[in-house]
Amino acid sequence: MAWWATSYRKATLLLFGLVLLAAGLLTVFDLRLASSQAITLTANQVIEPVPLDDPFAAVWNQASPVEIPLSAQEVTQPMGGGSARAVTARALVDEKRIYFLLEWEDATEDLSLASQEAFRDAAAIEFPSDGGQTLPSFCMGQTNAHVDIWQWKGDWQADIDRGFASVAETYPNAHVDLYPFRDDKTFYPGWAVGNPFSQRERVSPVESLVAGGFGTLTSADVQRVAGVGRWQDGRWRVLFVRELAVGDDDGVRFSLGGSTNVAFAVWDGSRGERDGQKSVSQFTDLRIGREAESGGISTGTWILIIALLSGLLAALVAASGWFILGRGRRSP
């Protein structure tokens, strides 16, 4: 065998090995991507309608899920959270609306905060508010750079599904003779002053909020985010939906082909989580549209496919090279 033929074979094997190694690394790398903050959530563009009432709809197979690691909030009082370790985020976009789907594990479905000790499950998405010169802190923003937050709440979902829980429903054995002025808001100050928590007619289980630092969180004047949350077999799936085109003061703006940042938070009611006591992520990139054509295959998967394909190509080249050389040697 000619010296160059042997080294050619060696080189082919080496190439093979390298490709396999690279593919393996990339697979691992794909996982590591999710645990660092260099994750990108892409809102894939879809043509089929996205149902507004079903977070399990098949169209979500066209989204590219990313796993976002969460950790306990340890920055300011009150601290806590940490029970939800990760949330899987998906996003879709069509001509009119943008959709987010959050999915996380939670052993209990906590829908009520009616009693003195109860708390509800909740989840939220956070974006830098428009017009900010500086990227806000993912921790509730700051004075000169606000954040928009959309929070879905288990009790608001129950209000929509079953109506605003009355005391009689919460405490079926309680007896009350009479409530004077029963329907007069004066005697329900939270209701009378327009606190969103006290309102009995709910349109959406999702509240739009703005914050510019700790303690400044305020319900937005314009509420435009719809959604639905469903708990099944120890997992929540919560859908958030908003129109792409909104007025100047109606909250964060999204444009097809554009990008921004997004952060996530999850509260576990049965562990007493509320306010700052929650599991949070940092800001991640959010890309809207375009990459959609990938049809549901994630970037990581693409890298893997390309790696395998090039591996196959290399193998073919090597095999044909060996064949040609072999034939050439046998000939007189």
């Binding site: 300011t76 905060l113 005391v167 409530y179 005697f187 002053v193």
Partner: protein
Amino acid sequence: MPKVPNWQLGREMDYPYERGKPQRQFAAVFNINRCIGCQTCTMACKSAWTFSEGQEFMWWNNVESKPYGGYPQFWDVKLLALLDEANPDGQVWDTSAKDAQNAPYGRYDGLTIFEAAKKAGARQQALGYLPSDKEWRAPNIYEDTSVSWSQGSSLPEHSTWFFYLQRICNHCSYPACLAACPRKAIYKRAEDGIVLIDQKRCRGYKKCVEQCPYKKPMFRSATRVSEKCIACYPRVEGKDALVDNEPMVTRCISACVGKIRLQGWIDDEKSPVYYLVRKEKVALPLYPQFGTEPNVYYIPPRWVPRPYLEQMFGPGVEDAIDRYSNPSEELLGVLQLFGSTQRLIFSYEITDEAAIGFDEKGREIVRVPIEEPVIVRPPQHLNIT
């Protein structure tokens, strides 16, 4: 964390905010010795403020039987246990370090609920807990239950005893409820130091319910926000035409049948409340060691064993009972002003014959004789059937 002065503890302490001194501070003195446990105050408050859905369990004013009772159940025992857990056997006073203005009871060398939370590495501002529904169920559980039973009792300490503790929000100078709220939805009014929960900003976190050591904020499920005693601020502001829009005492204070309550300002030397607390030192704060500088003061019951009273009202107990049992002319006079008028007494004068109360502008609003005249019923009106 900023350091703030706490005269009740005779030292500075940690508090999440700087001292914000109101123009004047709402305060009241409750004379435990006179209370008959009728709950008229409790009903006065309920019928004014908490008769609607979601408030069924709410008693912004309640009267509980000590030592066993509590609303919510065992609230004080639980708090004391938490403090002791954070700082075992450390809740002690140095009574030699007295100073009339800044340390009238000596110096507290233990930890407050704010300091204990810090020491325990708690992930919240103050030590606390969230009472369960069950613990809120009765405003006077163990009503009239006394310790032991014996044949007869005599002063100075009865061997069989219980007493009534009348409780409203203390409108603390360093409210733990306010410190606990991460939204700053609780505020202390600059004009009178009354502590209120902003019904619009509250998001129902129940942080105030958890961290008020006196357990006076309560969560209302019908509006999903917390509510608490408002010190009847519309009355204190003088919004009631019934008394010519002049400042009026709260519902629970004016309704008291036993005339055990007197309202005033803790930081105005002319106020009878200032006299009772700061000058005569006959009225004491409830659990001053918690560190919130509460503004409802109590004349301790004179028949109760002193160690029990001291863990509840601090080391000023012995002196307070002594002065109450051997009252000066002025004290006797001021005691007549309790429950004497619906109007708020800003200043007073004690003469040989009468105790006189004045309004803010110095106009006389009430005159009570020091000694009631003896009137003998003439024979034709004898009450014999």
